[in-house]
Symmetry: C2
Subunit: 352 residues, 2 copies
DNA sequence: ATCACTGCTGGGAGCGCTCCCACGCGCTCT
DNA sequence: AGAGCGCGTGGGAGCGCTCCCAGCAGTGAT
């Protein structure tokens, strides 16, 4: 890491200086730095030697200016920093993104857009094209963020499409399959009166989980009973409320599939208060395989999403996109971006 | 957020275009953008109007190249991402940094340097001067990172000096005062045989806590008893081991001041196993005021560090530094950077 | 021997900004 | 009336790269 001072006191060496040292032209050095194949081996070696001797490091600002790219992507989190840290979801996602970026020159920017002020700033940021691409995680259905990004013509990948015809590239876990396997598992345990507490149904993924639940019932030839389905909202309180309603309406239910672990935790409280034992009287399955699931009493069977893997795939997709869509322009209207779906996995524990 | 296309298809407007629109020169627009005072009000208004009309956003890359600054600082975390998320310390710190940056144009980069590979990358990053300054948090005493940063002549602020004569600017909480007030509190409760489990004594802050403990004893005229001091290492296991040793050596001790909440948790286990009740037989005080302290049984009295505030102050200090140290050069040898110390606060709970 | 044609190479022309020098104007002070 | 000053201003000269075109050899076909 030798950094020799030269020329204008203390400045780092420039391409020009490396070129002079190696006895070649500026263009050639640039080609070597950027790994162009059309450089002879001898020349390449000479340049590499000069680079090493001078401790040359490319000036990113100059490169960004000349090439009109930044070599950076942003992970946009439409939440407060507090929630970001509270949710293991983000942590896992970040790990996946980091892994995908590990052997790249790409720089990751973490941008919170929890309040209006931050969103305003983000808008400025994107307008200035300070990143080559954007990773959008856990966006709400009515969020204008994705459309803004699309409008600006910035490559983007979203985690969890907002609807069946999401125009942006997306990576999702198989919510339908998850709901289906959770329900099928309960059926395989001999349960027949399986209740379901949904998530917020304006969230596409939650809707899919519920559809998966229905599919499993249909496949097993069990008649659907609308009385066994109660809307929730992912929250603990919602779980309690829904469970109470279900118990009142169908006291003979023998299993519950909740759309999130937190919801399941709420349901468990009500079940316990009602004197139902888990899993003997009522089997319980959650979703997310969060820390709550592991620490619940009894430990909760839950559907695990490959969040880290999602982060990795999202990043790969985005990198590909930024690489191909070189001259920055808007995606032609009507062109659907790839929708990737990753498998979920049922983690069996004592609650079922 | 009107972004009108112009000139070379779709490119954003440039300074030049804004200047033409406002009927002024490039220089004048630049001055307005950068808030230079030497622009007449009329001209300023005209330029601002043009900026608004065109939806002009400065090109950061060009600015960085021309001005040789990046308007970005890095928060360097010498830990894995996993630990980063696990520790509320970082979350609070980040909040403080964010707050200080909120009404700045500065961009925050979060850089993990948990393993060799990441550190290598960081070195490249810093060598390329891609940030104007660096915030260094929770660096270990033998970490080469701070010296590398200093060597490169990059302004830096460190959280927690590594020794009494830390050459870098630093912001710390008052570890001495914290240890002193925790001990004084125990004395005020009528305790006289107060034991102390230290932190890792190669960590300057831990050392200061222990010195604070001693000061309090001296001030109260209580004779120091080396048998009451046992080295720990911030860990739970260390707390258990130390507590066992203390109990064996001084079975009549009536209070324990542990250098961290985690250590206190370890100590509590041993005390309980030994049949000592808290706080009746033995009063216990921890350090950090972490979640553990609140959830312990009984809730643990602990010393709170103003971590968010530390983040804020560190950032302010760094911004000041980057602003003044305009032409990038090394800090002259021998020039000590400011050492700021923020007060701690004793949070009383049922354990004492 | 002439003419492509291919494989490497050098260097001009910018990218959009900041910095700074020089200029013009309206004053005040001789 | 002329010199001197300061304020506001315009625009040249880069910052360190990438892109691209032209040029130069060497090769095989005509």
């Amino acid at each position: 890491m030798a950094v020799h001072g030269r020329g204008r006191g203390g400045g780092r060496p420039t391409l020009e200086e490396v070129a002079a040292r190696a006895g070649v032209g500026r263009g050639t050095v640039s080609r070597v730095i950027n790994g162009s194949p059309s450089v002879s081996d001898a020349t390449r070696a000479a340049v590499e030697a000069a680079v090493a001797e001078l401790g040359y490091v490319p000036n990113t600002a100059a490169r960004a200016l000349a090439a009109n790219r930044t070599d950076a992507i942003a992970l946009v989190v439409p939440e407060s920093e507090t929630r970001f840290f509270a949710e293991p979801y983000f942590s896992e996602m970040l790990r996946g993104v980091g892994a995908a970026l590990a052997d790249t020159e790409m720089q990751l920017l973490l941008i919170f857009a929890g309040n209006d002020r931050e969103r305003q700033r983000l808008a400025q940021y994107l307008a200035a094209h300070r990143v080559d691409g954007v990773l959008l995680v856990s966006v709400h259905a009515d969020d204008p963020l994705p459309d803004m990004v699309a409008e600006l013509g910035i490559p983007a990948v979203i985690s969890g499409p907002r609807s069946a015809d999401e125009p942006l590239a997306s990576v999702d876990s198989d919510n339908h399959g998850g709901g289906r396997s959770a329900t099928a598992h309960l059926i395989a345990q001999g349960r027949r009166r399986i209740a379901h507490i949904t998530g917020r149904l304006d969230v596409w993924g939650a809707l899919r989980r519920t559809e998966g639940y229905r599919s499993a019932l249909v496949e097993a030839g069990i008649e659907e009973d609308e009385g066994l389905v109660e809307p929730g909202d992912f929250s603990e309180e919602g779980g309690r409320r829904a469970m109470a309603a279900l118990l009142e309406r169908r006291p003979d239910l023998d299993a519950v599939f909740a759309a999130s672990d937190v919801t399941a935790a709420g349901a468990r409280q009500v079940l316990r208060e009602a004197g139902r034992s888990i899993p003997d009287d009522v089997a319980l399955v959650g979703y997310d395989d969060s820390a709550i699931a592991r620490h619940m009493d009894p430990p909760l069977t839950s559907v695990r999403q490959p969040i880290t893997e999602m982060g990795r795939v999202m990043t790969d997709l985005l990198l590909e996109e930024t690489a191909t869509r070189e001259p920055r322009r808007r995606t032609p209207a009507g062109v659907r971006r790839p929708q990737t779906v990753l498998p979920t996995q049922l983690v069996r524990r004592q609650s079922s």
